[in-house]
Structures are given as C-alpha cells and as structure tokens.
C-alpha cells in the first residue's frame, strides 16, 4: 500500500509508540503479527466514524444515577 493511501493512523511510528507505551514486553515475532493485526484494527476503527454524524451524538455506556427508592414512591 502506498504511504499516501494508508489509513490515518496505520503508521509504524504510531504502532511502535503504542506498543512502547503499554510497557508490555513483546517479542519480535509477536510484534510482526501484531503489526498486521493493527492495520486491520485501524480499518475497523475508521468504520466506526460515520460520515455525517451529528457532533452531539453521545456514546454508550451512559451512566444515569438512579433516584433513591423512597423518592420514586
């Protein structure tokens, strides 16, 4: 894939940074497998960014405090 066609975050430097930030030791072979998986993950993540979404669209889960039971009676 040409560099200019890469999805926004499918970048070796970002991948290396995220792995390093995890502070989890990862072997060379495992890093190769994870790098491929990361490309897929980035594509999946882009699919969640729906074109035209209202910027006020909230997220789940939404925590809603429940009133004390005596107040609902």
């Amino acid at each position: 894939m040409e560099k200019e066609n890469l999805p926004l975050n499918d970048d070796d430097l970002i991948f290396e940074g995220l792995i390093r930030a995890s502070r989890v030791p990862v072997s060379k072979d495992e890093k190769i497998a994870l790098r491929k998986a990361y490309s897929t993950l980035v594509k999946l993540s882009e699919m969640t960014r729906k074109t035209g979404r209202n910027w006020e669209m909230g997220m789940l889960p939404v925590y809603i405090p429940k009133p004390p039971k005596e107040e609902t009676k």
Binding site: I19, S22, R23, V24, A37, L41, L44, T48, M57, L60
Partner: protein, 467 residues
C-alpha cells in the same frame, strides 16, 4: 454402549424427580459414570466434584423424600465454566496467571444454583481468560473437544460448557458471553444457549473480560431447559452494579403457547450478502424462517447496517476493555499468559481513547437500529455461525479480525439472544441459529425457540463419540 441416550433433559428429569420416580443420586451417578468413561476424550472439565456431587445428591434425595422439593433444578446435575468464583475452590479461567487464585466468595449464580438444589458437578473448560476466537494448547488445561467430532473446535469461550452438555456429562451448564461465548459453543455443539438481557442475571463473581458486554447465562440440551435454568438464575443482585431490579416472569409457563401472530424479522443479509456463508448454513437458517412461518408467524426480511459495521465496533471495544482489566498483569506476568490470549489482549493497547469513544458512539447508532427493528418485530433471527466448524488446531492468531463475528451485534445492543440447533452440515456437524428479542423479553425468545425445536425435531440426534 449408547449411554448418552439415557441422559434426560432437565425438564424430563425434574418431572420424574418431583414424582419420586428418579432419585438425584441415581441421576448424578449416571453422569459421573459417563464423565469417568469419556472425559479423557472430551476434556470438558478443569475439576470434577465427584465426592461433593454424590454428597449433594444424597442430601437432595433425603430432602425430596421428606417433602422438601425445591423446584425444577432440585437434584439436577449442573456444571460451571471455570470463571465463576466458588469459595474454597480455585478459579483459573484456564490461565497460568490464575492457577493459584481462590476467591473468598461464591458468585451470585453459584449461590442461586445451590439454593435451587442443583448438584454442582465441577468446573468446566474455557478459552484462556474467556477471550474467544479459537482454543489454545498453551493454556493451563488442554482444550475441550467437540463430541460431534473430536478433531473439531467446540467454539468458545464456554468450550467445556458446550461439550459437557453435548456429551451428556451433566444436564445444564453455566456460560458467560461477551462476544458470543455462550452462543458460539452452543451452536458448534448442537445445544441451546441463552445470553440474557444485560442486567438480568448477576455477573457478580464472574471473572470479567468486558465491563460493557459480560453476561452470564444457561446452556442446556434444549430451550425449555434454558428456561428452567434462567428461572433460578434471573433476578436483581445489589452486588452487581449492572444488575437491574425488574420483575422476573415465569419463563416456562408460556413455552407451549405457539407463535401464531408473532412478527419475526430474518436478518438474512448477515449470512448471504455481508458474508457468503456455506449453502448448508443458508439452507438451515432460511429453513428456520420457513418453519416459523408455517407455524403461523409472519416472517419478513429485515435490513440493518452491514455485519462488518457491528463487527468493527465489537472488535474495538472488546480488546480495549480486556486490556484495561489485564494491563498490570500483562506488564508483570507476560510469560504466564498463553501467547494467543496475550497477543489478543495486546490489541487493546493499540486502541486509542478516541477510537474507543468513536466505537461507543457508533454502537449507540447501531443499538438504535436494532431497537427500531425490534419495535416492528417480536424477535429477529439470524445464523449463529458463518463458516463450517473449524478444526481444533486452527493456528490463525487473529481469526476474529478477518471473519466478522456474527454473535457481536447482540453483545453491542445488550438484547437477549438465544442459540438453538437449526440443522447440520453435510459432514454431520451442527448448525446454530440465533433468536434475539426485546429487552427483558427472554420469554418470547424462548417460546419461539421451543416452538421451532418441537416442530423441527432436530434434537433427537446425539453425538456418537463413545466407540
């Protein structure tokens, strides 16, 4: 020797036990005999409670003789996925990381099964830390094998729960489901498995994988048995912050009311357009729709967002939450994790906060779609599997990234979703269908499933692994 044919369903056994025609000790001994004979082939258990089960069964004998019959689970052999805390026992989740872990509490579902008089038979196999996808040979215990074909995967993560019921080692099991971990092994093993509405069954004392999705539910030979188990498991638990205080109906009473007049949506594009499933699956799931139509329901195709949209959201949220739960241990006990599960969890370290939030926003949109569909239809039906049952030793490290997860939509939306046997592949392996319903309406889901099972008569066939 066809002993498996002598294993009754929960419903059949409960009626005999109540009338005094079957002693819990005899039923338990039958299951223990089968376990002793065939467990070396199946590997369904991490730990078998032989002595404890015999003692509990004798106690049940005496209670029932004395007029103290508690209900349909009294004296019924049930086993638990090795993720539910049991005071006095280790809970390993099939990981070396947890090999010496013992909780000092019983999970709420364990307490409820004990209160119902169930005979606890042992702790069942699971994929390591319940992170599904495929079994692993590098975990604490070897993988469970599918009684329908010992070289095939059981599905997971509730692998032992599916295999134990199919093998006739017990009459029901408990599973947990954050991405299909009840429904996939139910489908692969040809049994029934219910993921209830999120909050219906307490997850207190269930080793977590995903705080957004974790659900606990029953697995059994058929839907009637799942209804009987759910009756004992369901209900508010103040110890679980996700538990919801809402009435629990009688799940068994309406099972035989039929489905005439119900509106059923068939999510056909999940297995014919978004992913081209093998013809056996298409034929089986279309056949479920046709059977339900023949029984008087109105069945129409329903169009939702493509399956990959649902898959994408699940595949961002699930590893991110699993990684958050395991972050410290991954940093300090890396070598103790099996390579498969640690790398799957590491995917979560690659999800940025903004990716997670965007996924949760998309999840809300998709949930709204499903709610719209379920405002028109009483239940929706689709397949529980997209490919033939994979081999036990499938080596792909991240198969869930390539093949969309068919169970995930109902984890995202938190609706109750139930898997039933829908047919068979040409090689004899079972095919499962999913039936999902409105929030808190497990009763209608189970009624549709039970009606189909009675009409289709697919459950008379048992796996033949004993020779």
């Amino acid at each position: 020797m066809k002993m498996v044919q002598n294993v009754p369903t929960i419903s059949e056994a409960a009626k005999k036990i109540q009338k005094g025609n079957l002693m819990p000790s005899a039923l338990t001994e039958n299951c223990l005999t089968r376990i002793e004979a065939y467990e070396p082939k199946i590997h369904a258990f991490h730990k078998i409670f032989s002595d404890e089960a015999r003692a509990a069964a004798r106690q049940a004998d005496n209670e029932i003789k004395a007029g103290g019959y508690r209900g349909p689970l009294h004296g019924i052999p049930i086993a638990l996925k090795d993720v539910f805390y049991m005071k006095g026992y280790k809970t390993t989740s099939n990981s070396r990381v947890m090999k010496d872990f013992s909780a000092d509490i019983d999970a709420t579902v364990v307490t409820r099964l004990k209160d119902a008089g169930a005979i606890l038979m042992g702790q069942l196999n699971t994929y390591e830390f319940t992170f599904g996808g495929r079994p692993t040979f590098e975990a604490l215990f070897p993988p469970a094998r599918n009684p329908w074909n010992l070289t095939k995967s059981t599905g997971g993560s509730s692998s032992g729960s599916g295999a134990a019921v199919a093998a006739g080692f017990c009459l029901g099991t408990l599973g947990s489901d954050a991405g299909g971990s009840i429904r996939t092994p139910a489908a692969f093993n040809g049994i029934a498995g219910l993921k209830p509405t999120f909050g219906r069954v307490s997850a207190y004392g269930d080793m977590p994988l995903s705080f957004s999705f974790d659900c606990v539910g029953p697995m059994a030979w058929n839907s009637e048995d799942c209804a009987l188990m759910l009756q004992s498991l369901a209900g508010y638990d103040s110890q679980d912050p996700g538990s919801v205080d809402t009435p629990v109906p009688n799940y068994a009473s309406g099972l035989n009311e039929g489905i005439k007049g119900l509106k059923i949506g068939l999510i056909r594009h999940f297995y014919t357009g978004d992913f081209e499933a093998p013809y056996e699956i298409v034929k089986a799931i279309d056949g479920v729709g046709q059977t339900l139509s023949n029984l008087g329901a109105t069945v129409e195709e329903v169009q939702l967002s493509p399956l990959n949209d649902w898959h994408a959201v699940g595949r961002i949220i699930l590893p991110a939450e699993a990684y958050a739960i395991h972050e410290k241990r991954l940093q300090t006990q890396w070598e103790e994790y099996g390579p498969l599960v640690r790398n799957r969890m590491m995917l979560g370290s690659l999800v940025r906060a903004v990716d997670y939030i965007q996924a949760q926003r998309r999840r809300k949109e998709l949930l709204s779609e499903m709610e719209t569909a379920l405002s028109e239809f009483d239940v929706v039906v689709t397949t529980a599997m997209l490919t033939p049952t994979p081999p036990l030793d499938d080596k792909a490290p991240f198969p869930f990234l390539d093949v969309p997860m068919i169970a995930v939509p109902f984890n995202l939306t938190l609706h109750p979703c139930h898997t039933i046997r829908a047919g068979f592949f040409d090689d004899g392996m079972p095919i499962g269908a999913q039936i999902a319903g409105r929030y808190w309406d497990e009763a209608t889901v189970l009624r549709v499933a039970h009606t189909f099972e009675n009409e289709a008569s697919l459950l008379s066939l048992r796996p033949n692994f004993e020779s």
